[in-house]
Symmetry: C2
Subunit: 192 residues, 2 copies
Amino acid sequence: MATVLTQKLTLEEFLKLPNLEESPAWEYVGGNAIQKPMPKVRHSILQKRLLAKLDSPKSNYLALPELRCTFGGRSIVLDIVVVSWDKIQLNEFGEPEDNFTQAPDWSIEILSPDQNTNRVIDNLLHCLHHGSQLGWLIDPDDYSILILTPQQEIQICRDSQQLQVLKDINLQLTSEEVFNWLKLREIGANLE
Amino acid sequence: MATVLTQKLTLEEFLKLPNLEESPAWEYVGGNAIQKPMPKVRHSILQKRLLAKLDSPKSNYLALPELRCTFGGRSIVLDIVVVSWDKIQLNEFGEPEDNFTQAPDWSIEILSPDQNTNRVIDNLLHCLHHGSQLGWLIDPDDYSILILTPQQEIQICRDSQQLQVLKDINLQLTSEEVFNWLKLREIGANLE
């Protein structure tokens, strides 16, 4: 289960916590500071492989792991966010600002054992309500991916179903391909 | 975790299993026979109280616990279904037929500890795709209720938010009221 700080905080107080960026990350939702569960091996493999798949130098989007996004009264740390380049604010040295204060274009969460699904869905809906176009919830125990889009019915994808990605990202991917990344013994699984 | 029979079955084979109606119930999804988890105390209290709340003699709907619904290639046993009277087929004695082979109008599932949320959402979506108007997923650990309606964004309800019910059912209920049923020590909680 998630670790929750016993005292209620304001967002400002939360952002000043000294252990804010320890691992696993702390999130701020509904006045509470909540620590994400420690990722396990399968979680880490999926996160790494998906990040590599999404990270294309030609893309208009930047894929980032574990980026803190603070907007709409919450401060959450999604497993992967995909953000269009024009949302990245640069400082006077041409480097990105450290604080990201918008909803990402695409939010991806990978469920950990014992992590509460409704809480994760709640954060993905928070992103959609603040401008995200797409949310994924990857459940490695059920080999399924929930796809959330604004004002549309949630979809569940399994097996050979094509996964919905952002409109202007050219990527063909099925649930099966994602979960096959976990089969480390299969020839070439690490070489793709 | 769910108990799953190792061999794949056809729906016909599944429906002939001798232990089909043992408790907890077996379901048939995607060629597999899967046993629901044994309900715990909090689950049972919520199921009982909600059933009592939904069961009005004046209603056009019948609320039933643990009804097996077999349609669209699955056979599932939802915690509570709400079905309009005109969907109940009567036999020559004026009694309801034993087998229910349609999607209920409203499907309600109460999450058990260790039950996989995506699997439950999958069954609620199966209902929506076959004619259900409404699905609820009650999560007693997160004190939240997911509301699913056809072709609309999933909603998450907490605290004092009014819960969406079927259009022609006259019922005012909030998440808070539902989860307050679990507070057995509060005066009058059993007397409402």
